[in-house]
Symmetry: C2
Subunit: 480 residues, 2 copies
């Protein structure tokens, strides 16, 4: 494997941005931005830049420092080593930010059918499964498909109080104890949680479970480069050094590069202007690479939970937030593209384009008598996917549909590290432009409290009562 | 397996709809519908009903008849039988409607980790993989993970001219020929295509490939209950009779039931009113069941491609179409819910709720000293997922966020048959209300032509020229 930390590789592996097709020069004045509109935002971006820098210095934006924490790698590698000698399956029990990071890294950076490969072809690393729901059939099915003696469970919850994850953990641990006894059960569990607080930390201390620490200031959706994402990644053989090196490379680029060439600020400015001035509430992320599906899912959480807010920082009701939608090229040209091309002018599309895939697949010249096939012969699938992306972006532009492209030289740990870090900074920056707090999620508390009430948790009786006292559903609004 | 075709099971397995939380009585007058608004749509729905019935009689809506085509089952079973004796892996080469149906059925109706099970535990049925992209790494990875001698490839393209699918086919067939010789290569290919026309039909005739027929009037996104979805389903052991019986049950219910209790018409009316009168352009489909993820993807294609249109039937520019978004409960409570709860009032959420899962998983009472865990003990995961869905719907409603629930008694072939058919009729019906043609997709032609031009297909030179003659991207709109 090439190591991109070496200086000679670094620039060749840098992400780039092309937003020509978002501009009025191309997409027309009605739907595109003028250069002066972007320019006019510069003073505000500079203020924001100062604000983010001072918040970073005060330690309020802890995710910024994760790429520099070599101790994460050390902690993760130390814990993984003995596990890698015995276990064939690795199951993450987590939800939201505790699940999406592991899945994104696994899909992007391992063999595309990693879990189907025989053990030797996985270099004796375990399969990775992510149990991120409480659907009883899905959980049972997952446990049913593995050998419990050879499976390690990574329970991830920063707070240690996530009902879904704790329920999964209790169920799994009960099953392990019953089948293997308490000692072997304990060996098969790793808790990733706060270093000091919460139920899982207390259990680690009192019951002697193996555990990893999440830096206290890092929230779930910004945790992919902490132990949360890094431990599963190490277990499946992803190069953690390269991943963090990529993130650091992006950080340095954003911090030290010329202000007007700041990728994150430019992206945030584009998203902000299309959302607020161009009335485009939907942000589509459409990689032309199947292996980036998990990265899109991760992005959608980061975006929705960070930016979808009722109140701004002054406490005014704003009910703000672009809706992220994930699509996949070229696949969704046969699904969502018709809508993007002809439907309402309410979307901005961001493509992720991969310059070089690992494999070059040449289409053979067969059946020359069939014109409808023969034109494909001697081209490569690599040409075809590139042509389709070019054609889609171009035709969208010609239909007045603004779009922009982030180019990724190739998919590897170094470029994915860059991409993840770029999206994190862009999100925080867009939060600043929209005037909301990108680090909280007050809107989901109500549902949690009602659930606690329904589950009989002491102290939450009133929430159950609120539900029970509410007007009953009416039969006339049902079809049975 | 219970057979739901028997009369005594049928009503217990019927889907139902609850739209209380979409109504002004619950969600408030600003965000909800009045009963009179729905009522006012009745004359229009009745006209539409007549129109759909006569179009159905004229054979213009061929998908309506698929549940009655016993010959589909016969054709599929006959072809499958010898294949099931030899093949361990089954790979669909298709895109859009040619891929989404197989995946939806497989995820919903097979073991949740079907592909990871050993052959005997799959009842000696093959694994099912769907190659629905031209990403070279994804395709190579898939071929690399199977034994080509034991793999059958199902090439699906109605027209026989889908560039992505033909390219995959040529690559795979070239590889098979090279490794196994032409006779064995031919045996490993099944073409599903038009009975008379197109490249694939001509190849079936001239080269002697096995083939299946798609009824000529059935378009890709309405083809799940044709050979397109049914052949892969048969290969993995799904009960085709039950699937079609479920669809027929829904058809009869929609045709013969009381007009005001027509599920599809009521759903279409709700979607129409929220889209046009309540200014909610985003339609979220959120099953509380991991196994319905594929059904959501299938729905998003059906919805986007059928309804996202530039012109109405009179040729007026309308640029219409709700944007479908798929979410997953309870998982996305930790991802998208914050946005749905507090963001802009631009969404209508449809929940799919499963009444009974196949497994009942009891959470054991462990660690009684930790209050934050102990309240979960002796509940079931089944209780928890139901409580979370109830809590989410209730809190959304209290925040002025309209939502409705389709209840599914349990997930089986009979209920999934109902659900698919219901969504198809609802889509056609909503197309009628919006005044667009739900069966065409003119917006994707431009991109196809440009791709053909870039790939050097004779007759498409002008499209390449248009691209090349267009103004070049400017450096000032790039960050490198």
């Amino acid at each position: 494997m090439k190591r991109y930390q070496e200086a000679k590789w670094t620039n060749a592996m840098a992400l780039s941005l092309d937003y020509n097709y978002a501009m009025a020069d191309f997409v027309g004045a009605e739907h595109g931005l003028g250069a002066e509109e972007l320019e006019a935002l510069t003073p505000r971006m500079q203020e924001l830049d100062q604000d983010l820098k001072s918040r970073r210095q005060r330690g309020e934006l802890a995710f910024y420092e994760l790429p520099y924490r070599q101790e994460t790698i050390a902690e993760v590698k130390k814990l993984s080593k003995p596990l890698l000698e015995w276990f064939w399956d690795f199951i993450v029990l987590g939800i939201g930010g505790s699940a999406l990071g592991a899945r994104a890294l696994h899909q992007a950076l391992c063999h595309p059918q990693y879990n189907l490969l025989a053990l030797a072809r996985r270099h004796h690393k375990p399969r990775l499964l992510v149990a991120d729901n409480i659907d009883p059939d899905a959980l049972y099915g997952m446990l049913d498909a593995v050998d419990l003696r050879r499976t390690v469970f990574n329970v991830i919850s920063k707070s240690g109080s996530t009902a879904e994850t704790l329920s999964q953990f209790l169920f799994v641990y009960g099953m392990l104890k019953g089948r293997l006894g308490v000692d072997k059960a304990r060996e098969r569990v790793v808790l990733t949680t706060d270093p000091e607080q919460g139920n899982l930390r207390r259990l680690a201390q009192s019951e002697g479970f193996r555990s990893l620490t999440i830096p206290p200031q890092v929230g779930g959706r910004f945790s992919i480069l902490s132990t949360v994402g890094m431990f599963p990644a190490e277990m499946v053989g992803i190069d953690l050094d390269e991943l963090l090196a990529g993130a650091r490379f992006m950080d340095v680029r954003l911090k030290e590069g010329e202000f007007k060439h700041n990728l994150a600020y430019r992206l945030a400015a584009l998203y902000y202007l299309f959302y607020t001035c161009k009335n485009r509430p939907i942000q589509v992320l459409m990689p032309y690479a199947s292996t980036l599906t998990g990265v899109s899912e991760w992005f959608c959480q980061l975006w929705a939970e960070s930016l979808g807010k009722k109140f701004d920082l002054q406490g005014q009701v704003v009910n703000v937030g672009p809706t992220p939608v994930r699509a996949l090229g070229a696949t969704d040209q046969h699904s969502q593209l018709q809508l993007y091309m002809e439907g309402p002018h309410d979307k901005l599309i961001t493509f992720l384009e991969v310059e070089n895939f690992q494999h070059l697949l040449t289409i053979p010249s067969l059946f020359p008598e069939l014109e409808g096939l023969s034109y494909l012969g001697d081209h490569t699938l690599n040409d075809l996917i590139k042509a389709e992306k070019t054609a889609t972006a171009f035709n969208l532009m010609r239909n007045g549909r603004p779009n922009l492209t982030i180019r990724i030289p190739e998919i590897n740990a170094f470029t994915i590290g860059q991409l993840l870090f770029l999206f994190e900074v862009t999100t925080v920056c867009l939060g600043g432009l929209l005037g909301v707090d990108p680090l909280d999620q007050p809107g989901v508390e109500g549902g949690k409290h009602t659930t606690y009430g329904l589950m009989g948790r002491p102290g939450f009786e009133e929430y159950r009562q609120t539900l029970e006292n509410a007007p009953a559903p009416q039969e006339r609004y049902q079809i049975i």
